[in-house]
């Protein structure tokens, strides 16, 4: 039974997790770097422990300091949040070795899914449609070039250990392939300490559609609808919505059943997201994020399921509180990420509120946004009966959002969702270029 939980994270996700714990009557322990002494998660937690200097690698990525802090504070469990150590199987193992509950999937599942080649092999095994591509990792460049010539171009080279676009290269001419494999491999080696790459057909301007999943240790797995995150800048999501204008109830059901089969097959428990490329009514397995995601409130808004509470429940060994047949997708939800474009001190802050309005943030008047970490300072989430009403609602809610002292992308986000391209919906991940042209 978790009575005390350490949140190994900062920012809005740490605040989110602390809120869920408070509601559950769980004592919270925050950790913070020297740059975050005045952070909201530090103020909100029952206890807070400094774990290092500002750089993440010495604080929020410092496994030993975090676990020592948890042990000292007599925490029963650690929730890793998003980013930082949330998909680090070694951290999950160390947490468990220290006798603490890891609020997340089994470290083995994290590890397997972290390797894209093995993740894809499992997706295939359990009948989830995958992007056509060459079987397994690239071992022999010459043979690979021949195989690609047969399969046809364009192709995409991906790092097996990859993420965030690193080690990823699109190749349109077969004569460029060999060089690009070498470059991608060396990029992957540098970024992830693993040069393994593999090759898939490149789907031009596919949509990014992901499915929220959660499973328990009793073997129940459910899907909670998709999120369309096609509006991206350099692989960074800017806008997330559900349902996707591209996904019909029939496709959602098939996608969900495929995903449940995979998750049950690999014995997955906890929250996770399966990402698909979506094109011409077809979906293709991309990867699994074996953690909660930044955009989880979108799903919470349409399903009314508190995902963070469910994660803690599952970590506790309890079954999910909801069954697949209980899940209703109620209308439309959208999340807008508000990113600081420069550090600064918050001089005035008034977040919007109201019917089906939610703001997840760590801002407060007087807070100094440090230059050290992720630029996201707030997530604004709305719910509405339809997408058209949702867009109008978001515009109206964003126009209420008041923040002085820290420059953000708020105005640009308003422009993006107000374009005819966005309003029309049903676009791929190249859409931002077109949107930017419309904005001019």
């Amino acid at each position: 039974m978790i009575r005390s939980l350490l949140v190994a994270n900062r920012g809005e996700i740490a605040v989110r997790i602390i809120r869920a714990c408070k509601e559950l009557g769980i004592r919270t322990v925050a950790v913070y770097s020297e740059a975050d002494r005045q952070a909201l998660h530090v103020k909100m937690a029952d206890q807070a422990i400094c774990i290092g200097p500002p750089p993440s690698k010495d604080s929020y990525l410092n496994i030993s300091n975090i676990i020592s802090a948890a042990l000292h504070a007599r925490a029963d469990a650690i929730h890793p949040g998003v980013g930082f150590l949330s998909e680090n199987a070694e951290f999950a193992r160390q947490v468990q070795l220290a006798g603490l509950v890891w609020v997340g999937p089994d470290p083995q599942a994290i590890e397997m899914l972290g390797d894209k080649v093995s993740a894809k092999a499992n997706a295939k095994k359990y009948g989830v449609p995958c992007t056509p591509g060459l079987e397994g990792a690239v071992t022999n460049i010459e043979k690979t070039v021949e195989a690609v010539r047969d399969m046809g171009l364009p192709v995409i080279i991906k790092a097996s250990a990859g993420g965030g676009g690193k080690g990823m290269r699109v190749v349109r001419k077969v004569e460029d392939l060999a060089d690009n494999i070498r470059i991608a491999s060396s990029e992957a080696e540098k970024s992830f300490g693993d040069g393994t790459v593999f090759i898939e057909k490149y789907l031009e301007n596919a949509a990014h559609v992901e499915l929220q999943m959660i499973g328990d240790k009793q073997g129940n797995v459910i899907y909670l609808g998709e999120r369309d995150c096609s509006v991206q800048r350099n692989h960074q999501k800017l806008v997330e919505e559900s349902p996707s204008p591209l996904v019909t109830p029939e496709i959602r059901r098939r996608m969900g059943e495929d995903a449940v089969r995979l998750f049950k097959g690999i014995g997955y428990f906890g929250a996770g997201t399966i990402e698909f490329l979506f094109k011409d009514g077809q979906y293709y397995f991309m990867e699994v994020n074996s953690r909660i995601q930044v955009e989880h409130p979108v799903t919470e808004m349409i399903t009314n399921v508190d995902l963070i509470k469910e994660m803690i429940r599952v970590a506790n060994g309890e079954p999910l509180s909801v069954k697949q047949e209980d899940i209703r997708f109620d209308g439309y939800a959208m999340e807008i990420r508000i990113n600081a474009t420069a550090p600064g001190t918050v001089k005035y802050y008034l977040p919007p509120s109201g019917f089906k309005v939610r703001v997840d943030s760590f801002l407060y008047t007087g807070y100094k946004v440090p230059p050290t970490y992720d630029s996201m300072v707030a997530k604004v989430i709305i719910g509405a009966p339809t997408r058209a009403e949702g867009i109008n609602k978001m515009l109206s809610v964003l126009s209420e959002f008041e923040l002085d002292g820290v420059p953000t992308n708020l105005e640009s986000q308003k422009k993006i969702i107000n374009t005819s391209i966005f309003r029309k919906g049903g676009f791929g991940t190249n859409v931002l270029d077109a949107i930017m042209k419309e904005i001019g």
Partner: protein, 153 residues
């Protein structure tokens, strides 16, 4: 308001030759005054309280100084570079590595900090005299918790 803000204000204040200044915003207070006789000489008095203090009283020690060593009024402070438990002795019944008044050479062990069952020896980074021991044996220390006040030799 952080140090460089205060420094900027002090600099400007001093340059002007003004007598006194008080500033308050929220819980931040700054009061600067020049002694009437000794214009351009006296030490400004700075009082700055953090605008908001962490709600977490629990395991937190006093506000920690940046690691590994900062200058205090009388000496330098050696702070904890990791989170863990301080052991001042190599074994339960052994004498402490260092005591107040002891002079240590660079590389000598000052204490052990245990983290995840690993005993990390904290070594002196320079020759110094231990002026004060600031952390008790078996105390839990955060990153930055002051351990020793020392004077360089």
């Amino acid at each position: 308001m952080d140090t460089k803000d205060i420094v900027a204000i002090l600099e400007k204040f001093n340059a002007t030759g003004l007598a006194e200044m008080k500033f308050r915003e929220g819980s931040v207070e700054l009061h600067v005054k020049r002694h009437p006789d000794t214009v351009y000489a006296a030490a400004p008095v700075v009082h700055s309280a953090p605008a908001l203090v962490p709600a977490s009283a629990g395991a937190q020690s006093a506000p920690s100084a940046p690691a590994p060593a900062v200058t205090s009024a009388t000496g330098e402070i050696i702070t904890s570079p990791i989170v863990g438990t301080v052991y001042r002795t190599p074994a339960p019944d052994a004498p402490p590595f260092v005591e107040e008044g002891k002079v240590v050479k660079k590389g000598e062990t000052l204490c052990i900090i245990e983290a995840m069952k690993v005993m990390n020896e904290l070594e002196a980074e320079f020759d110094c005299e231990i002026i004060r021991v600031l952390a008790d044996n078996q105390a839990f220390v955060e990153y930055g918790t002051p351990l020793f006040e020392v004077r360089r030799k």
